[in-house]
């Protein structure tokens, strides 16, 4: 290799190594180590399995964990159902002029930020919220229906903040689907249902996989929607981690819970990638 090339190579790789080693790799190793430690009476950190024992001994922890997992899978599927017709509409149905405008509209809630939009939902769903006041106004109800602080409101919030991450990857695969395939199927007498299940959905599978992985990870790691919109009975695993770090200051236990969350979500992503034969690199595109 040319000498100048070597210098350039080092100029490029050193900052990248600093980023990845100091901020990604080492912190996760520290998280791992910390999860196997407890503070003894002298205040020193000693090796222990207590943090993980606490997880399996205390019913509330692993129940919350399973609950979060089940909801995350359910919300991911729901997001797909909601997102797919929208993605198809924006790429194949509506004229291109409106498509760019509507796609932009999709992005606004994302950039506005989760906290603001979830707060908006809190106002909409509250006892004096838009929905209850509207229903009262048209005379359907006279007492407010309890919508906020329920599993329903939490699901709405999670769906809202993640739906875009399903639409965009599906749109990017559908864009390359040749319309003439659909036309040909239609000319040969295929029903709409057959066209969707035999052509459109199989073709957009890479986008659906990417979208599902990102949505699943967003939902399982989310805190704002379950905490602000969810009720007392809505158990969310990230809330346990937040409590350990921000209120009870049991960092070691929080580290163990964080590590469990990381492991289980990595396993699920890995399985999803294997089943669909996709690479992680593609997820980002």
């Amino acid at each position: 290799m040319h000498k100048g090339n070597r210098v350039t190579f080092y100029i490029l790789i050193v900052p990248v190594l600093l980023w990845l080693v100091l901020l990604i790799i080492l912190p996760h190793i520290d998280l791992f180590i910390s999860s196997f430690q407890v503070q003894n009476d002298a205040g020193d950190s000693v090796f222990s399995l207590d943090n993980y024992k606490a997880f399996f001994d205390d019913k509330i922890y692993w129940l919350t964990f399973l609950n979060t997992l089940a909801y995350a899978i359910g919300v991911t599927f729901l997001t797909f159902l909601v997102a797919f017709p929208v993605a198809f509409f924006l790429t194949k149905v509506v004229s291109r002029k409106y498509a760019s405008f509507l796609t932009l509209l999709l992005l606004i809630p994302l950039w506005v930020g989760e906290l603001v939009t979830i707060y908006g939902w809190m106002i909409i769903l509250g006892d004096h919220g838009i929905i209850n006041e509207f229903l009262k106004y048209i005379g359907v109800i006279d007492k407010p229906i309890h919508l906020l602080y329920t599993d329903l409101s939490m699901i709405i919030g999670l769906l809202y903040m993640s739906v875009l991450f399903m639409i965009v990857p599906i749109m990017s695969t559908l864009e390359s689907l040749d319309d003439s395939l659909i036309e040909a199927a239609s000319d040969l007498g295929a029903s709409k249902w057959a066209i969707f299940t035999k052509i459109v959905i199989p073709y957009s599978m890479p986008g659906i996989t990417s979208g599902s992985i990102i949505v699943f990870m967003l939902v399982i790691g989310d805190y704002v929607a379950p905490d602000i919109l969810g009720g007392k009975s809505s158990l969310w695993f990230t809330e346990q981690i937040y409590n350990d770090f921000l209120s009870t200051f049991n960092w070691n236990e929080g580290a163990a819970f964080g590590f469990l969350l990381l492991i289980i979500s990595s396993v699920i992503v890995w399985v999803a990638l294997k089943l669909s034969g996709q690479k992680l690199e593609r997820v980002g595109q």
Binding site: V7, T8, F9, I11, I13, V16, W19, L23, I24, I25, L26, P27, D30, L31, P85, F89, V93, S95, S100, F101, L104, L105, L106, I108, P109, W111, V112, G113, E114, L115, V116, Y119, G120, I123, H128, G129, I130, Y160, D179, I182, E183, K192, I195, M217, G221, Y223, V224, T238, I241, F245, L246, W251, G254, A255, G258, L261, L280, E281, V283, G284
Partner: protein, 283 residues
Amino acid sequence: MIRSLPNSPLYKISYRIYIAIFFLFLVMPLITIAVLAFNDSNFVALPWRGFTLDWFFANTDSRVGLFADDDLLQSIWTSVQTAFYMSILSTVIGTIAALLFEEEKFRFKGLLYFFAIAPLVIPGVILGISILISSTFVGSYLENRFGINADFFSPGFWLVVLGQFSFGATYVLLIVGARLKKFDRTLEEAALSLKATRLQSIWYITIPFLKPAIINAFVVSFLISFSNFNTTIFLVGSDPTLPVDLYSRIKFSSTPVLNAVSFVIVLFITLVAIINLFVNRKK
């Protein structure tokens, strides 16, 4: 079904109604916030009690508007500063990473690339707590071993910047990397054969080609930083960023000033989006 095929009117109408409901779902929280920011009431929700600008300008005992609320203005300013430094750091390192992964060959490249895009699927809370744990570890080590007062490593402004940068660079890498894939390598080869050094060819040929993607990546990083909560909450010190401040107000002391500040954010983002639309249309 698609543009070129005829459809039954029922299918067409029901599809359009679905799309209309979806977009209503999408804009409803934004519109609700925008309208209620002008509600002359001391509570964040309905009923509507008339129009007022109090939640922007008032400064009385019962009502403190956005522009009189020093804490809120301070947290906005903290967020702007955080986003600024985080975006510069992410854009520079992310672009370098894109050049490295697209143009260089080396051992363990695949493994390194895996770590570089992992933040895309690592939950923000995990990044937050692991960076908190390791920086606290380094900080207390320095203090106990060398007696160095290591404020830099305790939760605060710079830790938030670093924590957000840890995944911000990933987004820059993806955005700039995508554009770099379309780059015509012969241009660099031409520069090299004309005795330009490798660095000169990157600086004078590759970087100008990447400029639109780099600007785009900077804007995206800025917006990501400005709205981040999940990672930031663990690393924040005594000066909260706007999302952290909003969170504690929503939980403990919500007044319609929250609607006012949310409205300003929505307005700002919408303006940026419209400008972006026009700029892209011109091209």
